[in-house]
Symmetry: C2
Subunit: 133 residues, 2 copies
DNA sequence: TAGGGCACTTTCCTAAAGGAAAGTAGTACC
DNA sequence: GGTACTACTTTCCTTTAGGAAAGTGCCCTA
C-alpha cells in the first residue's frame, strides 16, 4: 500500500503546536514564570530563587519571554536605579495549557512506572496564584 | 528584598510538565502520530509520508513513542513477514493537549505578527480522526 | 544467482543548547 | 581609593539533537 500524505492543514497544525512548544520550552522558562508569580521581580532575586540557573541563561530566557510578551521588563528610574520583571496578563493564557500538561504528566508517570506519585491538590494553579508562599 | 523560593509542590509540577513535553517533543513525533492516524502502518510508508525524515530518526522516534505506550509495534508473522505500527487508544488522551497547544500557537502568531493566519476549522481533531484523506 | 524490497543500524558530521567561570559598567557606600 | 552590589556579557567548553550516506540481514521473485 502506498503511503498516505497528511493534508496540508495538518502540517499547519503541527507548525502551530511547535510554535507553542517553542515558547514554553527551554529548560528554565517555567521556573522563571513561577518565580515571577510568587513575587520575585529583580534579576538577582530570580536567579537566587532558581537553584542551578546561571546569569547567562537567565538573561537569555528573560529576553525570550519578553519577546513573546509573557513578561515585561521595566526600568525604575529613581535611586538606585532598578530593573523589574513582571509577568503580563497574557501569561495567564498559558495556565490552562500548563495545567493540562502537568495533569497528563502526572498520570503518565503513574501509567509508566505504575506507582503512586501523589500530590496534594495544590497545582500550578496555586503556584501561579498572585501571592505565593 | 530576599528572593522567594518556590514551594516544592511547584517544582514537582514543573517536573510533571517537563515529563509531558519530553513525550511530545522531538521534531517528528507529531508528524508520526498524524501519519499513523491517517492510516499508515508500515515503516517505509510512514517514512514516505513524512518528507525529510530519515530512517534513523524514524526508528528512534518510533521506539520512544512505543516506550511511552502511545503506539504499538506488531509483528505479523505470515509471509512475507510484516511489521505494523498502530497508535494506541492512550494516544487519544493527548488530543486535548495538542488541540490546546495548536490553538494557543495560532493565536500567538496572530498576536506577535499581528497578521491573520486563518485556517479552515479542520484542526488536529480532524487530522487525528480515524480515517484521513 | 542477481536484484529488489523491507526494516532497520552504523558511522560520521554539524548546529544548537546549555553551563562554568570570569569580566564589566554603572552606582553607591565607607 | 577600595570594596560591594546589580544586571548583565563574554569566552570557552561539553552535551545533545538531528541529519546524510552507506551498510546489513533477511526474505522473495525472476
Amino acid at each position: 500500500m502506498a503511503a498516505k500524505k497528511a493534508k496540508p492543514v495538518c502540517l499547519d497544525s503541527v507548525k502551530a503546536v511547535r510554535d507553542t512548544l517553542e515558547v514554553i520550552n527551554g529548560k528554565w522558562k517555567l521556573d522563571i514564570l513561577i518565580s515571577l508569580s510568587i513575587g520575585n521581580e529583580r534579576f538577582t532575586d530570580i536567579q537566587d530563587s532558581i537553584p542551578g540557573i546561571t546569569p547567562k541563561i537567565l538573561a537569555k530566557e528573560l529576553k525570550e519571554l519578553e519577546q513573546h510578551q509573557l513578561i515585561k521588563r521595566t526600568i525604575i528610574d529613581d535611586y538606585p536605579i532598578k530593573i523589574v520583571y513582571r509577568s503580563e496578563n497574557y501569561a495567564h493564557t498559558l495556565h490552562p495549557i500548563i495545567y493540562a500538561l502537568k495533569e497528563w504528566g502526572l498520570n503518565h508517570r503513574k501509567k509508566i512506572f505504575n506507582k503512586g506519585y501523589v500530590e496534594t491538590d495544590a497545582a500550578i494553579a496555586s503556584c501561579m496564584s498572585e501571592e505565593g508562599t
